[in-house]
């Protein structure tokens, strides 16, 4: 596992993208497309919408790579945050048009396992999955609703029928526990 080397390469690629290097963008795409597309499908529950947003995300990476500041986070964090933000925006737009409504009744899209070369990320995925498994269900639920459904704390409280203060506490406790569990097991997450 060589997280530092991979991270440095990602930073260099983003710097190259910032200087108009199309091949660097292609490399970044090849490296992150599976993770980001999986995230987008999970949020949007639609391959078609997810592919459209994935294209938007990488066009944004092309235009805004100069904004990436490695002091403010790793390339993984920057890309995932960008993709998730775009997806939530799309989700809200779709919801407002009542084209997507069945939260909790998601249908898993066609998905494939990680590429063999993506062993680092597969290992990280296992760590995250195991960490989430150790959270109490109510905490995990609060995090999932916020992250994948784009709900605010008030919306989660309404969805769960729980007091807002309780949701805040669950969310804070869940994030703290997640951070502790991952920090103890790997330094590759950037915290």
């Amino acid at each position: 596992m060589q997280p530092e080397q991979a991270q440095t390469t990602d930073v260099e690629l983003l710097h190259a993208v910032a200087h108009g290097d199309e091949r660097a963008l292609a490399h970044i795409y090849d490296r992150y497309r599976v993770v980001l597309f999986g995230l987008l499908v999970r949020i949007l529950n639609s391959r078609e919408e997810a592919e459209d947003v994935l294209q938007e995300v990488f066009l944004q990476v092309w235009r805004r790579a100069a904004d990436f500041d490695e002091k403010r986070g790793r390339p993984f964090t920057w890309l995932v945050t960008l993709a998730r933000s775009r997806a939530i925006d799309r989700l809200r737009a779709l919801a407002s048009r009542e084209r997507v409504a069945q939260a909790g009744a998601r249908e898993e899209s066609e998905q494939i396992s990680d590429a063999a070369s993506d062993t680092i990320r597969a290992e990280q995925r296992d760590l995250v999955t195991n960490a989430l498994a150790q959270l109490p269900d109510e905490q995990k639920r609060a995090l999932m609703l916020a992250y994948f459904d784009g709900l605010t704390q008030s919306e989660i409280a309404t969805r769960l029928g729980a007091p807002l203060g309780t949701v805040k506490t669950r969310m804070r406790a869940g994030m703290t526990k997640l951070r502790e569990l991952l920090a103890n097991k790997s330094e590759s997450f950037g915290f």
């Binding site: 199309e22 795409y29 092309w62 995250v128």
Partner: protein, 273 residues
């Protein structure tokens, strides 16, 4: 709201789960709190790991092609009037200047401002150094002038003391052709304390000074040397030889500045035959 309360909101902010008003409040705090900004970086990293909780999925290969087609089109549109067309392969684009973000611009302006301030400080330092040096020269000059005035005043005081002392005698020296208009008086008390006060003497050439002589019989006895000031005035304090007290003739000649045992130069002043 206290700092700890803002900190408690950071993890939810990383999930973009704060309600609108709470997010605005926290953003206002973040704009002023570097500690919370650093902490938010950590929470953002933690939140991003949740993306790995989603199953991976492979997008259509067409997505990659569409993305690359779009950025090539954007690059070409960005340089529609370029006289030099770069012939690019399928994976190579003409160099594109990345957009500068506001922090880079501020950084550049900061560097320019720092250079200007540094140059201004350097110029100020040189000016102050020159002023200090000039002031030092002026101070030295004033100090020397003061010292000269003090010495002059001291001599005049002694001259007054000699003049006022009982039994003081006075001899007048008149000019020769070497110094028309010059004159001097020599006062000396009963103990031989003598004071020569001369005026109208020409400036002594470099390396030269006027020397007082006590002439007893035909034998000149050397006195001290002096140089007149810029107005031709000169004052000399001396101890008169005892043998010169009663029957001496006095003379002033121009001699080497260190003084001579016997006269070698022209006589400028003398007290009669």
């Amino acid at each position: 709201m206290i700092h700890e309360e803002y900190k408690e909101m950071l993890s939810a902010h990383a999930l973009a789960a704060l309600d609108h008003d709470a997010a605005n409040v926290l953003n206002a705090h973040l704009s002023q709190c570097a500690t919370c900004r650093d902490e938010l970086v950590q929470w953002n990293a933690a939140a991003a790991t949740l993306a790995l909780a989603a199953s991976t999925a492979e997008p259509s290969p067409k997505v990659r092609e569409r993305i690359l087609d779009r950025i090539r089109a954007e690059a070409q549109n960005a340089q529609p009037d370029s006289a030099v067309k770069v012939v690019a392969g399928p994976q190579v684009l003409p160099f594109k200047q990345p957009p500068r973000n506001v922090w880079q611009s501020i950084g550049s302006l900061g560097a320019i401002a720092a250079a200007v301030i540094f140059a201004a400080l350097l110029v100020s330092l040189i000016i102050l150094w020159k002023q200090n040096r000039d002031a030092h020269v002026e101070l030295t000059k004033l100090s020397n002038e003061t010292k000269t005035l003090q010495e002059d005043l001291e001599r005049k005081n002694k001259a007054l003391q000699i003049l006022a002392a009982p039994g003081t005698r006075m001899a007048e020296l008149s000019a020769t052709n070497m110094a028309p208009g010059a004159s001097a008086k020599l006062a000396f008390d009963k103990n031989g304390h003598a004071m020569l006060m001369a005026k109208g003497l020409p400036a002594a050439p470099r390396g030269k000074a006027y020397q007082l002589w006590y002439i007893v019989g035909n034998k000149p006895m050397p006195g001290k040397v002096f140089t007149p000031d810029s107005t031709g005035n000169g004052v000399l304090e001396d101890q008169m030889p005892a043998v010169a007290m009663n029957s001496a003739v006095f003379a002033v000649t121009l001699e080497p500045a260190s003084g001579m045992p016997t006269p070698t130069g022209a006589i400028y002043l003398h007290s009669g035959s």
